[in-house]
């Protein structure tokens, strides 16, 4: 089927479907701009995407294979008098690096009789050399494929594989899962692949602050109707070799068994006093928050919780910053649940898609597998007047929004790239088993030995991101070295991997992925040498919330359309009348009231409402 040509004129053309770009698309379409939104990739959300297990393996393969430099086609024939071309980069493969995969579950080696010949070697290799092994472009994907045979001990086996996808692609024999060895985990690699579509693995690990800019925007624009959300149910911290629960709501504090009565009173008093800024607080401005905390004489326990799990700042962070962060945390408590955070069902990759849908509903046109090769700039005004797409079609536009990765290096201010270190683990149990298996937890791992603080998010199957019997664990930190170097120490301390099999009561890692991603907050879009009507969106940043991307999207929108409202509420479909003559609105009193609900069960909601009204967040004491 011949590919159809796009219309040749739009108001706004957007390249890249990451979060900021998608919000801009929705905002522009919403106020009537003609938007063309494309992405070179075959999936939405760019580096914010989430993947099924199988799709993730494909993604890994694509990243590792991306050494081919795309031929830059000469488009000068499309340029007219008084115009010049700016070429864009063919891909943004530079944003992901240091990809490493470790698989700790047995393959279903039903025909294989051979013993684990390479296993021990590989384990040593994994521990020691892992850091040095960077899948460079010269290493072809899937060239090495060590199969873990049945080890004599019958315990966990390791197979270090770079690019396991050939396994995934091969038709799996229908032999039943091997239960012959008494392993603790019953999940095999085959099962992971077979049920792989039930995983939704995000490239980005964040949480949604209940009063953060993303939640506020979702509510304001009604984009929230396209998604469902779960409460993050626990805040945990890693301390003295074990995982502890952090009491953050009043109910938690009262119920906590780790705090003494005195500590509880002190904590409540402190948190209450934090809510308003006082002179005492101001006296500490410019001094470290840690110092402020020490002088409150709260004790080590409380100090730890407050610094690392509530304010989530470092020891040298200033008091005013630490207090602001603490206040934000407290304000977000209790809006929907016991912690300040929500998490979208099916993963964070849904969120950009929701905004894209809103854009499409208001007329935005979407094309995946489609890119923009270059910009046509008017020499006199130095404004971009058109783009040339990957098919060579000239499309005029008034504004162009582009993901940072596609801007050619020659146009950017040379800033040292900051990176984020990421790890994704599939595990078989929670780091802190509780009464419910469906907990969604944030674990803060404080900085140690010069290593940065690590944020860990543990997702249960109720988030629809992993299969029953497993948990999906995301780790993030600012990079010091490669992701493996930065995060594997935490992984080996908190989980059971092939490298350290001693602690049987820790959850086992079945499979894990390490990679580095460019830190979007390190990008300075103002510094780019680009026409004034070209706007650059940076990729994901390392903060826990989405402020950076949302603020950036709003700022770009206001530059494009300073007079317009940013994402006003989309009308309820039932309020829109088809028939032109009938101008009276649909009565709100209709029984089929659109409640914007995406959860089921009237009774369930009622209960939920009652719970909220009981109000477990901290209130100033009377």
């Amino acid at each position: 089927m011949a590919a159809e040509d796009l219309p040749s004129e739009f108001d706004v053309v957007i390249l890249g479907t990451g979060l900021a770009e998608s919000v801009v698309a929705a905002a522009c379409s919403r106020v009537g701009q003609r938007v063309l939104h494309v992405d070179r990739r075959s999936y939405y959300a760019a580096n914010w995407a989430s993947f099924t297990f199988n799709a993730l393996l494909t993604w890994i393969q694509e990243i590792q294979a991306e050494s081919l430099s795309e031929e830059v086609q000469d488009r000068s024939s499309l340029v007219e008098e008084g115009e010049e071309l700016i070429y864009l980069s063919g891909s943004d493969s530079a944003s992901i690096s240091n990809l490493q995969v470790f698989c700790y579950v047995s393959e279903e080696a039903e025909e294989e009789e051979e013993p684990a010949n390479t296993t021990e070697e590989e384990e040593a290799g994994a521990a020691g050399e892992g850091a040095a092994k960077e899948p460079s472009e010269t290493e072809s994907a899937g060239s090495k494929e060590e199969e873990a045979g049945e080890a004599a001990e019958g315990d966990e086996q390791a197979a270090q594989e770079q690019g396991e996808e050939p396994e995934a692609d091969q038709p799996q024999p229908s032999a039943p899962p091997s239960q012959s060895e008494p392993t603790r985990k019953k999940i095999s690699y085959t099962q992971l692949v077979k049920e792989g579509r039930r995983f939704n693995i995000d490239l980005v690990s964040k949480l949604m602050y209940s009063r953060g800019s993303l939640v506020d925007l979702l509510i304001k624009s009604n984009v929230s109707r396209y998604a469902e959300f779960k409460n993050v149910t626990r805040i945990l911290t890693y301390r003295h070799g074990s995982v502890e629960q952090v009491p953050c709501s009043r109910a938690d504090v009262f119920a906590s068994r780790q705090l003494s009565v005195v500590e509880k009173r002190k904590l409540m008093r402190f948190l209450t006093s934090c809510v308003e800024e006082t002179e005492e607080h101001q006296a500490y401005n410019g001094r470290p928050y840690l110092e402020f905390l020490r002088e409150q004489q709260l004790g080590d326990n409380l100090q730890h919780f407050l610094l690392h799990s509530i304010a989530m700042v470092t020891e040298d962070t200033l008091t005013e910053v630490g207090l602001a962060s603490t206040r934000h945390f407290l304000r977000c408590l209790g809006r929907y649940g016991n912690t300040p955070f929500l998490f979208p069902v099916y993963g964070l990759g849904e969120i950009p898609q929701c905004f894209c849908r809103m854009s499409a509903v208001f007329g935005g046109i979407y094309c995946l597998r489609h890119s923009v090769s270059c910009l046509i700039v008017d020499k006199d005004s130095n404004r971009c007047k058109a783009v040339i797409d990957s098919r060579g079609q000239r499309i005029s536009c008034s504004h162009f929004v582009v993901e940072d990765g596609f801007v050619g290096a020659d146009r950017k201010v040379a800033t040292p790239t900051r990176l984020l270190s990421r790890a994704v683990l599939i595990t078989d149990a929670s780091v802190l088993p509780g009464d419910s298996e469906q907990q969604v937890s944030l674990v803060t791992v404080p900085p140690t030995d010069g290593r940065p603080a690590v944020n860990m998010v543990e997702l249960s199957p109720s988030t629809m991101t992993c299969i029953p019997g497993t948990y999906l664990v995301h780790l993030t930190c600012q990079s010091v070295g490669s992701a493996y170097e930065d995060l594997s120490p935490v992984v080996t301390r908190m989980f059971c991997t092939a490298e350290c099999q001693d602690q049987e009561n820790r959850p086992a890692v079945l499979w894990c992925l390490y990679f580095n991603m460019a830190d979007g907050s390190g990008v300075e879009p103002e510094g780019h040498d680009l026409p004034s009507n070209v706007y650059v969106c940076s990729g994901p940043d390392g903060a826990l919330g989405h402020e950076h991307a949302i603020k950036q999207a709003e700022s770009i929108f206001l530059k494009i359309l300073p007079e317009e409202e940013f994402c006003p509420p989309a009308p309820n479909p039932e309020d829109i009348i088809y028939d032109g003559e009938n101008t009276s609105p649909t009565s709100i009193g209709e029984e089929e009231e659109e409640e914007g609900l995406t959860a089921a069960g009237g009774e369930g909601e009622e209960k939920q409402q009652e719970q909220q009204e009981e109000e477990t967040s901290l209130q100033p004491e009377e």
């Binding site: 939405y44 209940s210 069902v345 007329g363 006003p568 509420p569 089921a600 069960g601 009622e606």
Partner: protein, 249 residues
């Protein structure tokens, strides 16, 4: 106190499809705050997919509004409709979602497959998120157009990839009113559906209102028969939209 009623509901903004979005912006005062008489027992999401021009919007509108508009332009800003039905003694609220289509973007488009309909589906760019949570999927083809039937495997591939395994599938051959122009036989449709486990098949006409209610109700019935009534299948999730007012203001 439900602040969601305070949100001024304006009609879709400017430009867009340019169709009849003339509802005035409503302020908070003109809202009557009325809670629904009895909340629905179940809320189900149904999506309708299929190639362009097969009649997805018409089927939905016939079911939800009992209207059929041959020359209607799709209103910009509509992507789903709600209808509540009673089945098996339960009140079920259906949210029926459409892939987004737009007609009449300042040009003179004709209905039919030769036209340039610009939308996510047109350029094969439907989000995976669209398939989430759908308990029922209605896959539609046009009995008078061969290519809409030949496209079915492509849609099945998307369903296999993104939709829940438990979603009920229904294949609908639409435009039964055009019997004289029929190209796809009923047997062909039946045969296609029979190859997919659990997929039902029927033919309908949105124009003549033939079989439309029946197919949606049958679909919902199938969905309900799978739901274990004592264990709510749909998980306890938050709706941040409706819970706005439970946090402090």
């Amino acid at each position: 106190m439900d602040p969601r009623y305070d949100i001024p509901r304006r009609a879709a903004g400017g430009g867009g499809g340019g169709s009849a979005n003339s509802s005035p912006a409503l302020g908070a005062q003109s809202r009557r705050r009325k809670m629904p008489p009895r909340p629905a027992d179940f809320k189900l999401q149904i999506i309708i997919i299929g190639s362009r021009g097969v009649g997805k919007t018409s089927l939905m509108e016939r079911f939800t509004d009992d209207t059929f508009c041959e020359a209607c332009k799709s209103t910009v800003g509509v992507d789903f409709k709600i209808k509540t039905v009673e089945l098996r003694g339960k009140k079920i609220r259906l949210q029926i979602c459409l892939t987004v289509t737009h007609r009449g973007k300042g040009r003179d488009y004709l209905a039919g497959s030769t036209v340039t309909l610009h939308c996510q589906e047109r350029f094969n760019s439907i989000t995976s998120a669209y398939y989430r949570g759908a308990k029922g999927i209605v896959l539609v083809y046009d009995i008078t157009k061969q290519e809409t039937f030949e496209d079915l495997p492509k849609w099945m591939k998307m369903i296999d990839k993104y939709a829940s395994e438990e979603a009920e599938l229904l294949l609908v051959g639409n435009k039964l009113d055009c019997e004289t122009d029929r190209i796809i036989s009923r047997q062909q449709g039946e045969r296609f559906a029979s190859r997919i486990s659990g997929m039902r098949f029927c033919e309908a006409s949105a124009k003549d209102n033939f079989n439309v209610d029946e197919i949606f109700l049958k679909l919902v019935d199938d969905i309900l028969s799978k739901v274990r009534l004592n264990v709510p299948e749909i998980h306890f999730t938050q709706c941040i939209h409706c819970l706005v007012h439970f946090g402090s203001l």
